[in-house]
């Protein structure tokens, strides 16, 4: 078999980003993907004729603009379109809407509480302070606080400098943000249930924690730190679904001469004399390279495709204890028309954004109780969008596609595997919740694809279906991601690297882990970096 300079295992968006930057540096790179299509959790598929589903991830904000520009993703077909709006429907028939326009937003919030509407300005500024702190570190490797290497000391000094610049109050806020629960954090600003619930949802998305569990305030920040064209905290849809992101990355990679091989299920990373020398596929094929990069999550990387005997015991133990609990499911639905929602005009801009039905933090916490009990939430928290109101390319004119992200769905049902009956029950709880607010919804359903953690794991390879390749809690962030001592993308074996969402700065369609890993690999190969630096926020 041919020898490459580098092999990337997995054509997730991070694997493709990593591969593109290595190929841009002149390396001969192959990406090996288990599925017959690329993208991992960043994928679009037609599972119902003339409908494109954005099967896993569905909205875009974290994708680093520096990378999109540098790899010429627009030229390769990517367009990210912001959507306005957002709404949480209340059980009493009213709703809380989220307008794009600042003053309209103020008026809508005032309808519920004038004080909250005013406090929102303080809240926004406080959250922005935290995004300012974290954003510059997204396109950097995390410094190793125990290293005495010049490069680490310099990074560390940078890091400390940014912290100090926050001032005493800012620092206290930072600690609060990184440790508190999103519920407690929001209660410091707001009094209205539905407002707290609307804002609090993003603190638990993808996370096996409740709105009152410590650490969830950071998850909210994680959803706030992206931007669409410089509007920090804004989200958009990728035209054609999130597969457009991986599709454009793949084209960019191929334009640099890279090769993508699908249906290539990697069985193990071959290690000889303490060095990675290539990979062996399940079908027996072998590919050789001096650099082997894993786009898989840490558990899959160290406990599945690597041989325990090739690894230090410490790494095996850390991988075993890595927190990667599944907590999410998803429904993708083809609709015969735009559903009607109680109290909202169909042309309301609120319809364009994320819709929810949990009108209090209490209800979201109860949804988490079901997860702890080993079952799906009977009254789930959903993050639902109808992107075809913005994107004309995903369904025929006048028809619609709905994506419903669901918290919570446990990786196992009462300790056992998900059965098809469980899956039906999960689907029903979601559909019923939506139908309770939309009289014509059920009649409009043409097709529904339901994915529990079982389907997500089986298809994307995300362990337990954890969407971020590992929980985004402080003990697993920055220089602790995936584990202390291995946060700079280098594996425990020479020539072996990690580039997935399980590394800094974590999950979401961000492309930063893949790019950061490429920078380290090129550093080790003594090649000039091809990875762009980050834009300064100010």
């Amino acid at each position: 078999m041919k020898k490459y300079d580098a092999i990337v295992i997995g054509a997730g968006h991070n694997g493709l980003t990593n591969a593109a930057y290595l190929a841009k540096a002149g390396l001969d790179v192959a990406v090996l993907e288990r599925n017959s299509y690329i993208g991992g959790a960043t994928v679009s598929r037609e599972l119902y004729k003339d409908w494109t589903y954005t099967n896993c991830s569905y909205v875009c904000s974290l994708l680093r603009p520096e990378i999109a520009r540098d790899l010429e993703l627009p030229r390769h077909g990517l367009q990210v379109v912001p959507y306005g709006g957002g709404v949480t429907f209340k059980r009493d028939g009213d709703y809380y809407g989220n307008y794009y326009d600042h003053n309209r937003q103020y008026r809508e919030m005032s309808r519920h509480s004038k004080r909250d509407a005013n406090a929102y300005e303080r809240y926004t500024a406080d959250v922005m302070k935290q995004t300012r702190l974290i954003r510059p570190f997204l396109l950097k490797r995390p410094p190793d606080p125990t290293s005495l290497k010049l490069r680490d000391l310099r990074d560390l000094a940078d890091f400390a400098g940014s912290f100090m610049e926050m001032g005493e109050r800012g620092l206290a806020d930072t600690l609060k943000f990184w440790t508190k629960s999103v519920g407690d954090y929001l209660c410091e600003y707001f009094e209205t249930d539905v407002i707290k619930a609307h804002l609090g949802g993003s603190g638990i998305i993808g996370t096996a924690l409740g709105v009152f569990s410590p650490g969830t305030a950071y998850v909210l920040l994680h959803h706030y730190m992206g931007d669409v064209d410089g509007n920090v905290g804004s989200w958009g849809v990728a035209r054609g679904g999130m597969g457009a992101v991986s599709g454009a990355l793949a084209k960019s990679f191929q334009a640099f001469g890279g090769e993508i091989i699908c249906d290539a299920d990697v069985d193990r990373i071959v290690v000889r004399g303490g060095k990675a020398t290539g990979v062996a596929l399940k079908n027996g094929d072998e590919y050789h390279a001096d650099v082997v990069v894993s786009n898989l999550d840490p558990k899959r990387t160290f406990l599945d495709v690597m041989d325990v005997q090739d690894l230090p015991a410490e790494v095996v133990s850390k991988a075993e204890n890595f927190k990667i609990r599944g907590s999410s499911g998803k429904l993708n639905i083809a609709l015969d028309g735009l559903p009607t929602f109680h109290g909202l005009d169909k042309s309301s801009p609120l319809m364009l954004g994320d819709m929810h039905f949990s009108d209090s933090l209490e209800r979201i916490e109860r949804a988490y109780d079901d997860w702890k009990d080993g079952t799906w939430s009977k009254d789930p928290y959903v993050d639902m969008l109808i992107p075809t109101q913005t994107d004309p390319s995903m369904a025929p004119p006048g028809k619609h596609m709905m994506t419903v992200f669901v918290q919570y769905a446990p990786p196992k049902i009462n300790g056992g595997e998900w059965t098809d009956a469980d899956k039906d029950g999960f689907e029903k709880s979601v559909i019923d919740q939506i139908a309770a607010h939309s009289p014509d919804f059920k009649d409009l359903i043409l097709h529904c694809e339901t994915r529990t953690p079982r389907e997500i794991e089986a298809e994307v390879g995300l362990t337990e279906g954890n969407i971020f390749q590992g929980e985004l809690t402080f003990d697993q962030l920055l220089f602790n991601r995936p584990f202390p001592g291995y946060a700079q993308y280098r594996g425990p074996v020479q020539g072996m690297y990690m580039c997935g969402s399980g590394t800094h700065p974590g999950g979401g369609v961000m492309a930063a882990p893949g790019a950061n890993a490429a920078r380290e690999i090129l550093h080790d190969l003594r090649k000039p970096s091809t990875v762009p630096g980050g834009y300064a926020d100010d």
Partner: protein
Amino acid sequence: MTTGSDDTMMLTTPFHSRIAAACELNSWGDWMGYTTPNAYTDVELEYFAVRNAAGVFDLTPMNKYRITGTDAEAYLNRLVTRDVSKIGIGRVGYTVWCDEAGQVMDDGTIFHLAENDYRICAYARATDWLHWSALGFDVTIEDETAEVAALAVQGPTSCAALTAMGLVGLDQLKPFGLTEFDFEGEPLVVSRTGFTGDLGYELWIAPHKAEALWDRLFESGEPYLIKPFGTHALEMARIEAGFLQAGVDFMPAEEVVRNGRSRSPFELGLGWLVDMDKSVFNGRRALQQELARGSRYRFAILDVDGNKPANHSFILKGNKQVGTVTSAAWCPTAKSNVAFAQIEMPYGAVGEELVAEIYYQRELHWTRVLAPCKVIDAPVFSHPRRRATPPGNF
């Protein structure tokens, strides 16, 4: 006491009732004395209606002149730099016109409606110049700005949306083509033109049918995600597409007071519009001399590092100031930071690396950055659907 007559007040276009209803932000601007929306709901979302679905823009305030008569073609050929005989009936041509010094007075479009029958659309008011240039030609010149209501429908679903409104066969219309449909008993002229660089059309109709046209368009366009857009969103789209704006990227020559502040077509990157094979046209002699002597400036599209738009920036080569920026924007579809600059010769050739001196403010604090930039050879947005016939449904 005398009361002012109505026509000295700010005017409204025949679409105003519909625009005012849709203009959630109540953000109005003044375009040639007409009340025009800066933005309806959100500038970015409106911009994306153009690039991702279909956007509708009221361009009624555009100055429109009807030129008829047996000498119409000869007259226009004398007036503008392009060879008008090459603009067949049913075709539209983009052009500039110059004063005798070869300085650009305006840019605009010429619609060849029928034999000896043309319409000129212009940024600046041009009645005086049009009459001035008509000496000795058998033509009639009519200002029909207020007599023709006009909407631009731009974006990837624009053809599908208009077809759904009943403009059957529109998908066969080629770029810069012109055709006519019947709209409730009135002629509706449709041209495949626009100022966004995307697939798009412009609709021309009698004012009394304006509201009906708007209503029908939005009704049939709904499944195609049609939205109105204002001047601010148009500004983003036209910069991304590389289009110059009179009064912004150049001064109409007639308005220039200070010597040297006007520009020739060559200096605006519009040399391709100048047909020196034509034996006479306004400004020809001066342009001939410029070709021999060389131009003073060069128009450059710059790809600027970083994400700070280079508005009003100086352009530097080393320590020397060699130019200034006339328009700049972060382009959301192309994901690049673009600036149009006037660069002193001999600088500014394609590929040249320069520096933009950018000033920007955050929370009342000004910062200066020196952003490297590069002269690029084409606008950053260019999509095959703009040229394709048929153009596709999205």
